[in-house]
């Protein structure tokens, strides 16, 4: 196991950030999923030894990381928020951090810069970097000392689709090369793109952990709502209500809301129904098909 937490608690004065979390994380990529304020950053900061938990124990790579440089030098951490020495160039920043982490290989900063594809701008002041460049630089400093465990706090936030897919590929490559990765996000599909193993945190509690598909199955087992915007909505509603998988159909102001317990079957039949009746669909969306729905469902369970 790369990380083992037992009854982990953390309080910010009167606010609980982590509530009795017990979990073991094996090597590989693990996604930490939760909305803003769920306790993801607190969990990660305790995992790298920057914060001391209020209660419980946490061991990373076999030892407690709190005030332990021997463990911390085996971890690479990319924080969520930007906090750089803005006056430095990207290359100077990496060189300084490599030395602080005891890297003797002088080519290590250059290698890290090349790995995250920042070579073109490495000699520019960090103050001039775009959001995507900053995210890459954070990743570069996390890998410059070749850690065994990478802890990435919302590494994809604020990036455009191209940068996002490059970063996902990069993180996956580190994992293929043998580095374990603990990555947080509040967006389900971002985590799904990286790993199938997730922990779900909500209001400081560990709601679920395991395979993302199992957790999706849990979501799919509860009533699922689909919104359809089409011409002749009343006729479509009448057609849909006859389907055995459909529990309820409501015609609302701008759309039809369909409630089903078998979303996969419903989505499978929908094209046939639409073709037979000749309806033109403008939009299909599911308010349940997002992370908040997972949390709502798991919290109510």
């Amino acid at each position: 196991m790369i990380l083992q937490a037992e009854h982990l608690n953390h309080w910010y004065r009167h606010v609980i950030a982590l509530n009795d979390i017990s979990v073991s994380i094996p090597p590989g990529i693990t996604g930490l999923l939760g909305p803003n304020g769920a306790g993801k950053t607190s969990f990660l900061r305790i995992a790298i030894g920057l914060m001391r938990p209020t209660g419980g124990t946490l061991r990373v790579l076999g030892a407690s990381p709190w005030n332990c440089p021997a463990v911390q030098k085996r971890i690479g951490y990319a924080p969520e928020h930007d906090g750089f020495f803005e006056w430095m160039t990207g290359r100077e920043f990496l060189r300084t951090l490599a030395r602080l982490r005891g890297v003797r290989d002088r080519s290590a900063p250059k290698t890290a810069i090349e790995q995250v594809r920042l070579s073109d701008v490495a000699d520019r002041a960090i103050a001039t970097y775009s959001r995507g460049m900053r995210q890459r630089l954070k990743l570069a400093q996390a890998i410059v000392h070749r850690p065994e465990l990478l802890v990435l706090d919302e590494p994809l936030t604020g990036t455009d689709p191209v940068v996002r897919s490059e970063l996902i590929e990069l993180i996956a490559r580190f994992a293929r090369e043998g580095t374990s990765v603990l990555v947080s996000s509040h967006v389900l599909h971002e985590v799904e793109a990286l790993t199938s193993r997730i922990l779900v945190l909500h209001r400081g509690r560990l709601l679920a952990h395991g395979d993302v598909h199992e957790i999706r199955a849990l979501i799919d087992a509860h009533p699922h709502t689909v919104h359809l915007r089409a011409d002749r909505p009343r006729e479509l509603a009448a057609a849909l209500v006859r389907e055995p998988d459909v529990e309820e159909v409501r015609v609302e102001e701008s759309h039809i809301a369909v409630r089903t317990r078998r979303p996969d079957e419903f989505y499978g039949k929908l094209p046939r129904i639409l073709l037979e009746g000749g309806w033109r669909i403008e939009e299909i969306s599911s308010p349940d098909d997002n992370l908040e729905a997972v949390f709502r469902y798991l919290t109510e369970k």
């Binding site: 910010y12 950030a17 304020g37 950053t41 607190s42 900061r45 790298i48 030894g49 920057l50 914060m51 001391r52 005030n67 440089p69 911390q72 030098k73 971890i75 951490y77 924080p79 969520e80 928020h81 930007d82 906090g83 750089f84 020495f85 006056w87 300084t96 951090l97 030395r99 602080l100 982490r101 005891g102 890297v103 003797r104 400093q141």
Partner: protein
């Protein structure tokens, strides 16, 4: 070897940070204050007092009494709570050195650089007095060196105090400023001397009295006509050593126990 590299990187990072942003501007303004005041005193004295007392006045009343406090407050809080606030502490405290060693290295390098800058300010003050009062530059430079030594002791003491405040308290600026205002300003200048003898300012005066003023307090001390005697060199040395040791150890304990929280904690 790896640890030596880390120590050098940390020291160089600390020194370079001092020359960037608002901190650099404030430091430059502060360093220019003593020479500016010395030039004004020299230009307007019209024989009211001699050149040595102009230099003593700037060094005692400006540098040792208030300049040191403001200078070290800015740098002490920037190094501690400032780096936690802006997020850079994450990188500094995830190195191979323990936190207490990181603090010690940064404390040392900052004290040395601030002492050098203060010497530059005092040397320029001496030059300003020499030019405006037609005084011997060599004698004034000797005074600047002696006062710089006392000032460097003060820089170490105040920096340790403000580093402790930065790591131990949630509102370090408020705690640091109010503690200094109460103890170093109100007590030094307005309270009976049985209390005032325990302020850092009066003990720095005690060091200055022996090192820079040849034991003659003259017009610049509060109780010059009374029975009060400013702390002797040995008393003052003991006091500043205890002060420095206590607050440096307290700052090291504080950083070892401080959780470095992110913005989410606020």
């Amino acid at each position: 070897m790896a640890k030596t590299l880390a120590v050098l990187a940390l020291a160089s990072l600390g020194l370079r940070s001092m020359f960037t942003g608002r901190r650099a501007v404030l430091t430059a303004v502060l360093i220019s204050l003593p020479p500016t005041c010395a030039a004004l005193i020299g230009a307007t004295s019209q024989g009211g007092f001699d050149w040595a007392w102009a230099m003593h006045g700037v060094s005692l009343r400006l540098v040792l009494s208030s300049y040191l406090i403001v200078l070290t407050l800015i740098h002490g809080l920037s190094l501690s709570s400032g780096e936690i606030e802006d997020g850079t502490a994450v990188y500094i405290h995830l190195g191979i050195l323990p936190r207490w060693a990181t603090l010690l290295i940064r404390f040392g390098s900052t004290t040395v650089l601030l002492s050098i800058l203060t010497f530059a300010g005092l040397a320029l003050s001496g030059l300003a007095v020499a030019v405006t009062m037609n005084a011997p530059a060599a004698a004034l430079l000797r005074l600047a060196v002696r006062y710089s030594f006392v000032a460097s002791v003060g820089i170490g003491c105040y920096l340790a105090l403000f580093l402790f405040c930065g790591y131990a308290f949630r509102r370090p600026a408020a705690v640091g400023i109010s503690a200094t205002m109460l103890w170093e300003i109100v007590v030094t200048f307005f309270m009976p001397m049985r209390f005032a003898a325990y302020t850092l300012t009066n003990n720095l005066y005690g060091l200055a009295l022996s090192l820079a003023m040849d034991g003659h307090p003259g017009r610049w001390f509060r109780y010059r006509r009374g029975s009060y005697e400013i702390p002797s060199y040995s008393e003052a040395s003991l006091y500043v050593s205890l002060f420095l040791g206590f607050f440096l150890a307290a700052a090291m304990i504080a950083i070892m126990n401080r959780s470095i929280e992110g913005k989410e904690a606020r």
